[in-house]
């Protein structure tokens, strides 16, 4: 993915959460180009300092829009107010529930440096469990 997309994602997370609330975004790619993430989606959602929930109508429209454009969501990104980890809620209520889906958690409401170094990354496995990965080696950010 390009560093511009990463910066755009942090801008959404910061601008929406204002350092006080969680925020969530999604990265998508064209099905025909599985190696390249090239779009960020910022859903309609509610949020508090410890929680977010995505609007159902947004989900329905986004599923249909992705189908029309032959695209798919491959990573969900959300903030925590303090440290980054995968909570029980994160485990059980992701937007996509198929093996290989990635979930990135950004600490400090994304108030730190733009990058993946302090983030927590988990991959959904075929048995439903989540495995922690190194975000800096799993997701390549290009200039």
């Amino acid at each position: 993915m390009g560093e511009g997309l990463l910066a755009e994602t942090f801008a959404h997370l910061r601008g929406c959460g204002w350092g006080r609330r969680e925020c969530v975004c999604y990265w998508s790619r064209a099905v025909a180009r599985p190696g390249r993430i090239d779009r960020v989606l910022h859903p309609t959602h509610t949020a508090t300092a410890r929680h977010y929930e995505v609007d159902g109508a947004w989900l329905d429209e986004t599923w249909r829009s992705l189908a029309r454009e032959d695209r798919e969501i491959v990573v969900q990104i959300h903030t925590h107010g303090t440290r980054a980890f995968h909570s029980e809620t994160d485990d059980e209520f992701p937007i996509v529930s198929t093996a290989g889906f990635l979930s990135l958690v950004v600490p400090d409401f994304a108030g730190g440096e733009v990058g993946l170094g302090s983030a927590y990354l988990a991959r959904l496995e075929a048995d439903g469990s989540w495995t922690e990965l190194d975000p800096t080696t799993t997701i390549e950010v290009t200039r």
């Binding site: 159902g56 989900l59 329905d60 599923w63 969501i73 529930s97």
Partner: protein, 91 residues
């Protein structure tokens, strides 16, 4: 000739289900329950995590009750349903 083939394919379409941008077609059986169709969709889309949290939603965004038959739920041939988690959240 190619156009005719496309038209024929559309006529055979029963119910289309979308999950994360991918669309698959399923045979519509009016007396089948929505739960049975849901189970087939979960299997074909290879959803392995928390499958019990997924539901089918119609064009109006209504979550279709699993216990209704397709006929009772007014799911018609050519309809396009969405397969997704009833709730997407984190924290």
């Amino acid at each position: 000739m190619a156009e005719k083939a496309v038209v024929a394919k559309k006529k055979k379409t029963d119910v289309a289900i979308i999950y994360n941008g991918r669309t698959k077609e399923f045979t519509r059986k009016p007396d089948e329950t929505v739960g049975t169709l849901l189970a087939k969709a979960i299997e074909r889309f290879e959803v392995t995590s928390e499958p019990h949290r997924l539901s089918l939603f119609d064009a109006e965004g209504r979550e279709i009750p699993d216990t209704e038959t397709l006929k009772q739920a007014k799911v018609k041939a050519g309809d396009e349903l969405v397969l997704r988690q009833s709730t997407v959240k984190g924290g």
